[in-house]
């Protein structure tokens, strides 16, 4: 594999994901255009989890832990999948924006395209873990998600210094700041989802 040649395809990013020692240098050697990363990686990859969630939800229904599965109407499922897609796109773009905004503080490169490509690399294990949506049981999905998140965290800490051109120590601080942002973004998404759900998008909750 030519580690230093960055190709903007999902398959290439999967290969980078499993070879983190090459991934940072590979991203550092390239200065990808934002539009290219968006069109070739962010949008196609963001379609995968909502699509799988739609199929799993429509065919099997969601098991949140109780007895019978929760079946959501096709219209509700479409709306939820659309919201999921928007959340993923927003997540990729906002995380890259936050990383780029932090770059000066931690002596990293500022190019937004590079940050976006790096965020895609870090998010790749989680995108792949969305295959768990085909078995729509909340706990099964969590079990699949946990190793994926651990791998994403590893990629974040391991690859950030090389990919964004900063020292390992400043990279560690920047990665931790991004973890803080991602935790807050994650819990915000949880809150927004709950508000929408109790607002009527999803099964009737009687509230």
């Amino acid at each position: 594999m030519h580690a230093r040649l960055l190709v903007l395809t999902p398959w290439h990013f999967v290969r980078l994901m499993i070879r983190p020692s090459d991934a940072g240098a590979c991203l550092a050697s390239a200065a990808p255009e934002t539009s290219a990363v968006l069109l070739r990686l962010v949008i196609p990859l963001s379609l995968v989890p909502p699509l799988l969630a739609y199929i799993g939800g429509a065919v099997f229904g969601w098991h949140l832990g109780g007895g019978t599965p929760l079946y959501i109407s096709p219209a509700g499922l479409t709306l939820i999948s659309l919201g999921y897609f928007v959340a993923l796109i927003t997540g990729f773009l906002s995380t890259a924006a936050v990383a780029s905004w932090m770059a000066d503080t931690y002596g990293a490169k500022r190019e937004y395209g590079t940050h976006l490509a790096f965020v895609v690399l870090v998010g790749m294990p989680v995108i792949l873990a969305s295959v768990g949506h085909l078995a729509p049981h909340a706990f099964v999905n969590m079990i699949v998600l946990i190793p994926a998140l651990i791998w994403s965290l590893y990629l974040l800490y391991r690859c950030l210094p090389a990919a964004l051109g900063t020292s390992p120590e400043r990279g560690m601080l920047m990665a931790s700041s991004l973890v803080a942002y991602l935790l807050v973004a994650g819990v915000s998404l949880l809150g927004i989802t709950v508000v929408l759900w109790t607002g009527g998008i999803g099964p009737t909750l009687g509230v």
Binding site: G66, M142, I143, L149, S167, A180, L190, W197
Partner: protein, 475 residues
């Protein structure tokens, strides 16, 4: 150089640090055990001392009051001397305070296992212990404020403002919430009843979170972070603004624990609004911490403890954002009475309180005994175990909590509950198993720390340090 033979009283800090580590291990071990009881309910073996209802209280009391307060007393005594350039006021009273607290915790812990319980969450200890706690706490106040009163430098550093608020507010909360009529040595009845009792209890409960688990530990942050980083706090002015905004707004937020309960609607709404306001001062401190540490990246090469503080800031950011969000009534309708709340509490308790304390202990103990840390490698292992443990814990409880909330609210086509409470709880077993693994992982990291610090301090004496000489006017 000694000034009139004066020395800082650091032995009391070292002992309190040791006690805090002991309580952290006991508290976390009992936490893992009660987590295991939720997976295998029969492991109490029919013995009431091992029952969930008693061990759970032992867990919360030992981690919050045993570990948390001992760590706060240790760091308050250490930092107030150095920020005031004087030894402790009334050092014998400081020893009384330190040892009395441990005796109270030991007796209190045994009484909880024996089934003495006042029935108020996080204030379960019965009236003899409540009186003892009040006496010790007032001693703490005399030592701390006495030291500030005899300080040799005029400004009162911001960490002392936070520690001072901790001492004053916790005294107020504890005394008011513990007002009760004793009927026997082991039983008393609260002076408050009904909804007044609920409002007073959560005024206490939430401000214990606020002024002990947040404000007290911010005092620790504001002293030890600049010491770790070897540079001043990024914006001192911002820290003072954050202190007063925090102190003003936190005290009103308690009623968000009583959403959809029998307290007036406006009280609930006030609690919600003040909880949202609280985000601003909380995050002012977050910004201050992140920017202070951002300029100290070289220290990461030599100081493994700094990583704990960096990570604790990330979880502080999460917990102080998640709390106000969960106070919003339309989120609370799902989250209340579910394990989401448990996850939120632990993202703060493990991710923020424990990690900043661990980072502080790794900094403090080698300096107290004048030695290098025994093993940087073990400290690094501890860091990764702590990160894995807290992340797994939070994820497990988010999954369990959101599932519970949504299932409890699900109605069928004729308006009946779709799922029984029993069935929902039975289905939570996998999440609880995951939480048990997470807790054990975090506990294992704490054991490594205890061993590492024990080996660092073993056989060594406390280093004697004298206050700096006073600066003469016009010099």
């Amino acid at each position: 150089m000694k000034l009139n033979g004066e020395q800082y009283h650091d032995r009391v800090t070292a002992w309190l640090t040791g006690f805090a580590i002991f309580w952290s291990l006991l508290g976390m071990a009992s936490g893992v055990y009660v987590a295991a009881e939720l997976v295998w309910p029969t492991i109490d073996f029919g013995h009431e001392w091992l029952s969930y209802g008693r061990l759970r209280n032992l867990h919360t009391n030992t981690v919050i009051f045993g570990f948390g307060i001992s760590a706060l007393m240790a760091t308050a005594f250490y930092s107030v001397q150095r920020t005031c350039h004087v030894p402790l006021f009334a050092p014998r009273l400081a020893w009384f305070c330190a040892l009395g607290w441990q005796a109270g915790m030991l007796g209190g812990g045994i009484s909880l296992l024996a089934g003495w319980n006042g029935g108020k969450e996080y204030a379960e200890l019965e009236w003899p212990f409540d009186i003892a706690i009040a006496v010790i706490w007032i001693s703490f106040a005399i030592v701390f404020f006495g030291t500030i009163a005899k300080r040799r430098i005029q400004p009162i550093y911001v960490s002392n403002w936070f520690y001072g608020a901790l001492i004053i507010v916790v005294a107020m909360l504890h005394i008011v919430n513990s007002l009760a009529i004793p009927v026997t040595w082991s039983k008393s009845y609260s002076l408050f009843a009904g909804t007044q009792d609920a409002v007073v209890q959560w005024w206490y409960g939430h401000n214990a979170v606020g002024f002990l688990l947040t404000g007290g530990f911010l005092g620790m942050l504001y002293y030890f972070l600049p010491k770790h980083a070897d540079r001043p706090i990024w914006s001192y002015r911002l820290s003072i603004i954050a202190f007063w905004a925090f102190t003003y707004s936190y005290i009103w937020a308690g009623p968000h624990h009583l959403h959809y309960n029998a307290v007036p609607e406006w009280v609930q709404s006030l609690g919600m609004v003040m909880s949202l306001v609280l985000l601003a001062p909380s995050w002012a401190t977050l910004v201050n911490g992140v920017m202070t540490v951002a300029g100290a990246w070289e220290k990461l090469r030599t100081d493994p403890a700094l990583k704990f503080i960096v990570l604790s800031l990330a979880f502080y950011g999460l917990a102080t954002f998640e709390g106000p969000m969960m106070a919003i009534k339309s989120v609370n309708v799902v989250s209340h009475f579910t394990d989401w709340t448990i996850g939120h509490v632990h993202s703060g308790a493990l991710g923020w309180n424990a990690l900043i304390t661990f980072g502080t202990f790794y900094f403090l103990l080698p300096r107290l005994v004048g030695a290098e840390l025994y093993s940087t490698r073990l400290a690094n292992w501890h860091f990764w175990l702590a990160l894995a443990g807290v992340m797994l814990y939070v994820l497990a409880m988010w999954g369990a909590g959101v599932s519970q909330g949504l299932l409890w609210l699900s109605l069928d086509e004729i308006g009946e509950l779709s799922y029984s409470f029993k069935d929902i709880m039975a289905s939570m077993k996998p999440y609880y198993a995951l939480r048990m693994v997470a807790g054990f992982t975090f506990f294992a990291g704490a054991v490594l720390m205890a061993f590492n610090l024990w080996m660092t301090a073993k056989g060594r004496r406390i280093v004697c340090i004298a206050p700096p000489p006073p600066v003469r006017e016009g010099a």
